[in-house]
Amino acid sequence: MFYILLRSFFVAFFFAVSGCAFPSFPPLMPAVKDLSSLPPGKTIIFGKIELIPPLSKGAQRIKGSRLQAYENKAALLTSSSTLVKANEDYRYRLSLSSSANQFFMLKEPVYDRYDKMIEIMFGETFYVMAEDKPFYVVASEVYMNDARWFGRVFLPSGYKVDIKSGDEAVYVGTIRYYRNEFMDIVSVDVVDEYEAEKAAIMVKFGNKIRVRKALVSAKSK
């Protein structure tokens, strides 16, 4: 009876001190559907990110979690400052499972230093709306494990997206990340597919759109 009471005390105590799960992501840079949704002072960023070989089915164990929407996607974390560096640390805190019978250490990423997040489906051309001024992709992450025991892979980043005032659409290139079985990124290429992508954006948004090429320079670590 004593032990039951003691356990109940622990449950009540830790339930009281443990907060809600999972921190907030930075605000999302929205996808652009058509030019009418592009207000003045905004620019379309477009390009592609590829992971070679692609993720195998089941490699990301994120089903049923808040990260499920990130299947086969990269999350790019941006900042307007060159001083911001990628934060690969985690913070740990004790939390209580929903069934209220088990405590566990919650492993959380720390996102408070980033301005925006861009969600990009691997292998598909993305079109997102940014301010018409330069920014830095500080970190790029692939979510591998669910929110309880957070696991992510970092794609080498730290590059500038060189937007100039008045740009309507800026092509940043196709960033190809080559990986091994363990998910180590072994090399990175930036491929220029400007002509094909320019033709595609003109089909999508009309041939009056002003497009400029500003390839990024993502490098291996």
Binding site: L6, R7, L94, Q102, N145, G151, F182
Partner: protein, 190 residues
């Protein structure tokens, strides 16, 4: 060779209902394609920040890296620092986590040492045709850093040698198909 440092959980996990229990003997499998994989982890340096009474490793989890499967985590048997898995099919694996848990009347205390999961770590190995595979002998090195708290690395050491690891496993394999293979390997190592 050193593994990159990994932040250690500051406080042991408190679990009110038990963990999966590691096997204590080596077993036979009907599947003729599987291998017996074994190694050793010296955790004697790993009690500095815990309430644990012993420093012997009590669980080791492997992760199957390739081919990708639904349940890639494989629980190993443990005995006196040695660990093994007698049902590994061909593929690439590495240690995902090891540690120690102890039961007390009120809580189970677990000390966890998760290794980098999405990068090749020091314990990575490949299983091809069925047989015996020695992963290596590893030592946990735990250090206290004023800013970061407890940190650990895992290093590969020569002691105990493979033969001594096999001598731990031999009595646990009695009556299995692995017994003769272990004896043969011990002779080869003399």
């Amino acid at each position: 060779m050193r593994v990159g440092r990994v932040a250690l959980i500051a406080l042991s996990v408190l679990v009110f209902f038990g963990c999966a229990v590691a096997p204590t003997v080596i077993t036979n499998s009907k599947d003729e394609t599987v291998s017996l994989v074994y190694g050793y982890i010296d955790m004697s340096d790993g009690v500095k920040a815990t309430f644990l009474n012993s420093s012997k490793v009590s669980y080791v989890n492997l992760k199957q890296i390739d081919p990708v499967i639904d349940k890639p985590v494989k629980l190993c048997g443990v005995s006196n620092g040695a660990f093994w898995n007698d049902r590994l099919s061909a593929g690439i694996y590495q240690v995902l986590e090891f540690g120690r848990y102890e039961r007390t009347p009120v809580v189970n205390i677990t000390r966890r040492y998760p290794l980098p999961e999405f990068t090749k770590n020091i314990t990575a190995f490949k299983v091809s045709k069925p047989g015996l595979y020695y992963v290596g002998t590893f030592k946990l090195v735990e250090e206290y850093d004023e800013k970061m708290g407890y940190q650990f690395t895992v290093v590969e050491t020569g002691k105990p040698r493979e033969k001594e690891v096999l001598e731990i496993l031999l009595p646990l394999s009695e009556g299995t198909k692995w017994e003769a293979l272990i004896q043969k390997r011990i002779k080869e190592l003399k």
